[in-house]
Structure formats: structure tokens, C-alpha cells
Amino acid sequence: MNIVVCVKQTPDTAATVTVENGKVSWGDAPLVINPWDEFAVEQALRTKEAHGGKVIALSVGPEAAREALKHALAMGCDEAILVSDPGLLTVDSLVISKALAAAIDKIGGIDLAFFGRQAVDSDTGVTPAQVARRLGWPALTLVAALSAVDPAGKTISVDRAFDEGRQQVKSPLPALISVTKEICEPRYPSFMGIRKASKATIPVWSAADIGLGAIPAPALSWTEVFAPPKIETKVEMITGDSAEAMAAKLAARLLEEKVL
């Protein structure tokens, strides 16, 4: 099984994110591998461990996104590739999906591509399905479990998490999968893995290298970014001598205020 896992570098979820001069700022907060992508890397590694082959980590981003790829290498990926081009820095999923599909095409011979369900910065979650469509592969998004993998027969069966229940789908390979956190628990990079990752050379491909030619303009235009209005709440503490007394008071207040 030749596997690609796509990762993005994002600010840490604990970062304080603000707007400064109309631009998003996360101050000194560290940039990390998108937390959802760690589940994708883990599942890619487990699939390789069970069925052989190799795992290549792939990212589109600035030079600094190497660090996210190094994390993937430290977890155990065999290779990493960074697609970096000034023209790809402020684009939308329509363009990023083109770049990722072109890079996966250039790598060639891939059976499975794994993605996290969404990135914690833009929170759109549309890129995996778009890459699948561009490659002409089945899009298996929000996968909560791999129920059967058959590399010889070139098929895979998965459980997809809908709000109403699980949909069980059998798909030919190659296919593209985005994972939810139910699928596995990501491993921590080992000491040996970190050493290996620090020495690894990560090739950088430009837009021209992946045959993208002129980079199309993004389909979206962001007209404004702002801090959400502060929700002013003043807590009314309900007190009483017993749980019954407090519960009665709370129920009365909820009905009085027509909350219920």
C-alpha cells in the first residue's frame, strides 16, 4: 500500500487569536501540525504496518510548514514533501485542492490518501472531498473506522459518521479518506523518530514543479475578519439550604424568565 497523508500547519488550539490591523494574529503561540491531521497520520501508519508499503506526508504551505511535516516524520512517516509557492499562500480550498491533487499525481502509484476532517484555523473541512473529485477517486469523508482493507483485491470498507448514524461503504482503491477522532489514538513521536526527522531532507516542490502552471485566483474573497461581539453574562447564583431548595428556585427562575 502506497499511502499519502496530507497535513497542514496551524496555530495551537490553545492560542489566543486576535485581529490586528485587519489581519489574524496568534502572537507567540506555537505553530503545530493540525490536531485532526495527527489522527490521519496515525491511521496511515497503522494501515502501512498492517499491509506493508510506505507513507508519504504531504503539505502545501510556507517554508515553516516543514515543522508539521517533521512531526509526521517523527511519528513514523517514511518521506515528506512540501509544496511551497508564493502564489499558494493566500488561496482557498478550490486552489489548494488543485495543488494537492497535482502533487499526489506527481508522486504517482498511490493507493490511499488520508486527511484529517478539517483544519482548526479555517475550519471549513471541504478540501479532502475536493481533492478526491479532482483525482477522480471516491471521497470517503468523516471515516470513523476502517472495517476491511484488501490491498490485493484493491478495495477498502469504511464506516462514515453521519449525524444520524454510520454509513458503511465499500470502495475501490485508490480512494481518499478523511478521518474523525474516533478512528484511533495518535502516537507520540519517539525519541528515535524525532532524531530521524531532524536529519531528513524534505524536498520542496513549486507550483511549476507539480505542473500547476498559472495559479488560478481563489474563488473566495474575504472582506472582513473581526472578533465576535462579547457576550456579556452576569451569573445569577442560586443558593439554598438543600439541593431540593436550589433546584426549586432554579426551576422557578427558568420558568419566570421564559427560558423553558
Binding site: 485581529v19 471521497a139 475501490p172 472582506t223
Partner: protein
């Protein structure tokens, strides 16, 4: 009147999703601002009843792609069908609810039409003939306004409970047109469905009762003797705690939520998780019992209209976003509250 605002009716095996009609209402609002009409799009097999319902809820007309190959939702064939309808109809704006299926369906359709797609709208305005969508980014720490700059359809997915559900008008009529789409051969096969625990959907719920790590901390309970493992004892205690949450939820016709800590500890399935890495919810009432209120949890529920917090720890951050708070033992307060509300609401 040019009919160019399209609204996609998402359904699970023929059953419209909770937010389906809210989005028809939102499309109606956009259409009025644009001087346009509303066309509902229904895709599936034997789903013509949904087209009639969409018209009753405010669509002017409906277009249906009905095909045996569309019996099960699959992004490939559904997107091909949707693309065909949008192209034929000259759609300028497309609204969909935000669900697991539509996020993927809209993404794939946007590729086919080489246009922009914007999920998770919590509001929109119409400016110079364009829809300007407002959506949270960085888990709601910031908001952005986005327009689709292409000449193609502007595709937006709108969150549940942002717009009111319009009343159905029984007598309302409109044209229902069948559209044939060349779907091509399906490559994937849907093997079946596994229902998750039945109950009210978190994203559609008007009331949510949530439990956190605190639901397992009841020293008065003694686990059965055959449970010897410490973690299993804790999970057993937590399940007794969640039973109290469910009892209150049943009285309030509420969905059951949980914090990440409770999910990670194995108390309750991930499907119930509220927060940055779970579901983002915005109910009228959110009752948090034994939930401390980590920033990642608050990111998923702080836009709830009224938050009620029950916690032992007066310093718990959840009290900072709560409207009503009780510092107390949830194992005593929850059952008392359930009894009280059951009597007062006559349920």
C-alpha cells in the same frame, strides 16, 4: 421573475434533516433581497414528497433528480446530479444546511462548477447582488465575512438554528420538474447503516443537557463486586451519573451532550461531544453538569442563549459564561431539578 436562488434539501434515507426548512426560509430571505425566486433541489429515490414539503415551506418550485442509483447518498452521484440541476437552472446562489453529507456534497459540486463554497454560516447579508456570509473561524475565536468572487453559483452552507423554521402552508403550490442527469457508473457500494444511539440531534436541539468529568465523582455509589478494574469502576459510576443527565434531558425533550474529558475517559460516545473537536451547538438552553468549562468546550457552546451551570467548584470557568449557577452536588441537584421541572411542566 428569475428564479435563481437554489436550496438543497438534505435528507437521511428520505427523511428531511431538522434544519432543512430553516434553510428554505433563509433562501426566501436572500431571494427577496435579490429580487429572485426560490427553487428547491431534491435528489434521491422516491423523494418527491420532499419537493412538495419544500414548496409548502416557501420554495416557489422544485426540481427533482429521482434515480435508483440515488437510493443511497454517495457524494459522486449526488454531486453530478446537483451540478446538472444548478447548471440547467442558471443558479446564482445555492444554500444548503451544514451537515456531514452537505459539507462533502457542496465541496465536490464546487469543484465541478469551479466556484467557491462557504460552510458554517451563522448569518448573511446581500450587498451589490452578492451574498456576504458570516462564519466563525478558529473555533469561534474570530469571525470572517466571505463572498464568492466567481461568476459561478455562490455556494453557502448554513448552520442549524440560525434561521427560524417557516410554518408550512398546506395550500401552497408550485411546479415540480424532474431532471435527468447522466450519473455514470457508481464505483462505491453502500453496504448498510448502523444507527447511533437514538435521541434528539445535538445540532438541532433547543435544549441540551451535558455532563463532564464530574459525573463520575460520586463516592456514595458502590460498583458491583464483579467490576474490579479501577477505570471500569469509574466508567460505571459515570454511567450512573449520565443516567441522571438523561432523565433531565427526557423531561426537557433535550439532547445529551458531553465534554471532551468525559468522552476521552470512555463515559459516553464521541457522537455526544460538544466543543472544538466535537459538535458546535447553539441551543436556547444549555445545562452543564460537572463540566468545568475548558476553553475548547466553551468554543462549542458559548453562543447558547441561556447557560445553566451546576458544579461543585465555585471557581469553575463555566460559571463565567453561565446565566444561572448552582454550586452543589450534581447527584443531588439533578434529580431534584428533574422532579421539579417534571411537575411544573406537567411532563
Amino acid at each position: 421573475m428569475a428564479t435563481n436562488v437554489f436550496v438543497y434539501i438534505d435528507h437521511y434515507n428520505g427523511q428531511a434533516v431538522g434544519a432543512a426548512w430553516e434553510i428554505v426560509g433563509a433562501a426566501r430571505k436572500a431571494a427577496e433581497a435579490l429580487g429572485a425566486g426560490v427553487t428547491a433541489v431534491v435528489i434521491g429515490q422516491g423523494v418527491s414528497a420532499l419537493a412538495e414539503e419544500a414548496i409548502q415551506h416557501g420554495a416557489d418550485e422544485a426540481r427533482i433528480v429521482d434515480d435508483p442509483q440515488l437510493k443511497d447518498y454517495r457524494p459522486e452521484s449526488y454531486a453530478t446530479a446537483l451540478t446538472k440541476v444548478l447548471k440547467d437552472g442558471g443558479a446564482q446562489v445555492v444554500f444548503l444546511p451544514t451537515t456531514a453529507r452537505t459539507r462533502e456534497l457542496a465541496a465536490v459540486t464546487a469543484v465541478d462548477l469551479e466556484t467557491g463554497v462557504v460552510p458554517d454560516l451563522v448569518g448573511f447579508e446581500v450587498k451589490d447582488g452578492k451574498v456576504v456570509g458570516t462564519r466563525p473561524i478558529y473555533a469561534g475565536k474570530l469571525m470572517e465575512k466571505v463572498v464568492v468572487a466567481t461568476a459561478g453559483p455562490q455556494i453557502f452552507l448554513i448552520r442549524s438554528r440560525v434561521f427560524p423554521k417557516p410554518e408550512a402552508q398546506q395550500g401552497r403550490k408550485g411546479a415540480v420538474t424532474k431532471v435527468d442527469a447522466a450519473l455514470g457508473a457508481a464505483t462505491t457500494e453502500v453496504l448498510g447503516y448502523k444507527a447511533t444511539e437514538a435521541g434528539v440531534s445535538l445540532t438541532d436541539a433547543a435544549v441540551i443537557v451535558s455532563g463532564g468529568r464530574g459525573v463520575s465523582v460520586n463516592p456514595k455509589l458502590t460498583p458491583p463486586a464483579d467490576i474490579t478494574d479501577d477505570h471500569q469502576k469509574e466508567v460505571w459510576r459515570a454511567q450512573q451519573g449520565f443516567a441522571l443527565i438523561r432523565e433531565l434531558a427526557a423531561v426537557l425533550n433535550a439532547a445529551v451532550g458531553a465534554s471532551r474529558a468525559a468522552v476521552d475517559a470512555g463515559y459516553i460516545p464521541y457522537a455526544n461531544q460538544v466543543g472544538q473537536t466535537g459538535k458546535v451547538v447553539s441551543p436556547d438552553v444549555y445545562v452543564a453538569a460537572g463540566v468545568s468549562g475548558a476553553i475548547q468546550h466553551l468554543a462549542g457552546m458559548r453562543t447558547s442563549k441561556t447557560i445553566v451551570a451546576i458544579n461543585k467548584d465555585v471557581e469553575a470557568p463555566i460559571f463565567k459564561v453561565a446565566r444561572f449557577g448552582i454550586v452543589g452536588d450534581l447527584f443531588e441537584v439533578l434529580p431534584a431539578l428533574t422532579r421539579e421541572l417534571k411537575a411544573k411542566l406537567s411532563r
